[in-house]
Symmetry: C2
Subunit: 212 residues, 2 copies
């Protein structure tokens, strides 16, 4: 049965789930959520996910939200990208939490505020604050990748597909690949995996749609 | 062997791990990290955790950081508080991620900024922004607890012990139990579990130490 992923192109959190489905070669299809016209706040969507968030994955009678949980589910279901031992699996989970806590929250919010929020609602103080926290996270990631190709063990895992979630987007948010050579090379390695696509090619909806 | 938890009283993330160890009746002891005098940034501590964060758990040759991973480890090790089926375990993980992403990041940062950062470094804009996001998270939690005693299934799980992490602290950060009756009653239920203690009783270090 085809797995459905409720998502939209701009969502880096949805991209983590979409990329995991794609690289694990699962039979899946995206279902467009018209976030920018308020669809995530509709009763129909909130029935699917009371948290009102994208992504949501539906696999038969299993409905899941939270990108990290979807990644873990797909990895368990396919036996791919989950680490090769109990220690590696814990390490993968550690990076998923770190990403959710320290990395994507800052990257996602900063990018949203700088690119998708009306200008009169943007706060320079908040953007500076979030970018400072984002730089601290990027520094941790850059140091971690100094002497290894992948975050956990010697093969790609869902930890990589989580931490990279926002880093392929073209919109400015305080991250420039040139400033982080180890991250830059790691993003190239992920992009070389069979089936990889950038966010706006993997999921429906992009800023281009709204500018026409 | 006694499990060591590197922590300090003010850290709500450490409290989640400490509370899980305590309620699971594990043989554990806290090791004080003098965060406010920069101990988390020392080479010795960063060897323990390159991310420079508390909590860190050491159980023999297993060293783990990230509260969610420690909670998951303790729950797996003891068979307690992890949910009673695969579906419940996924639901538990979903709340752990949600807490890390939507709840604790806002609560922890707001509380730190309002109480522990020098006044000249506080930004009213940032505090207002974070409190707005925190209110959205509290609203989700309040609605979720409208018709149930525990977040997952009919028994306490580490999902409860994660989401409550910052909510027992006395310092102001934009959460008043009176405004959220369902959360208030749920916090009382958790506090009634055998062995429960509030953060400053469970872990060493508190603002009182620094005010003398």
């Amino acid at each position: 049965m085809t797995i459905k992923l409720y998502c939209f192109g701009e969502s880096g959190n949805a991209y983590k789930a979409a990329l995991t489905l794609q690289l694990a070669e699962v039979d899946w299809e995206p279902v467009f959520v018209d976030f920018f016209n308020g669809e995530a706040r509709t009763p129909a969507f909130q029935e699917l996910n009371p948290m009102g968030e994208v992504p949501v994955m539906v696999d038969g009678d299993v409905t899941l939200s939270q990108s990290g949980v979807i990644q873990d589910y797909i990895s368990s279901k396919t036996g791919k990208f989950g680490g090769r031992s109990a220690a590696e699996r814990r390490e993968v989970l550690r990076w998923l939490f770190w990403d959710n806590h320290k990395m994507s929250s800052q990257a996602g919010t900063t990018r949203f505020m700088m690119n998708f929020l009306p200008e009169d609602k943007r706060s320079a103080d908040v953007i500076a604050f979030l970018q400072g926290r984002l730089r601290a996270a990027l520094k941790v990631l850059e140091a971690e990748l100094a002497d290894k190709d992948w975050l956990v063990g010697d093969a790609p895992t869902i930890a990589d597909f989580a931490c990279c979630g926002y880093l392929y987007y073209p919109e400015p948010f305080g991250f420039d690949r040139k400033d982080y050579p180890n991250i830059d090379a790691w993003l190239d390695r992920i992009a070389a995996l069979p089936g990889w696509k950038p966010p706006y090619d993997l999921m429906p909806g992009s800023p281009a749609d709204r500018n026409t």
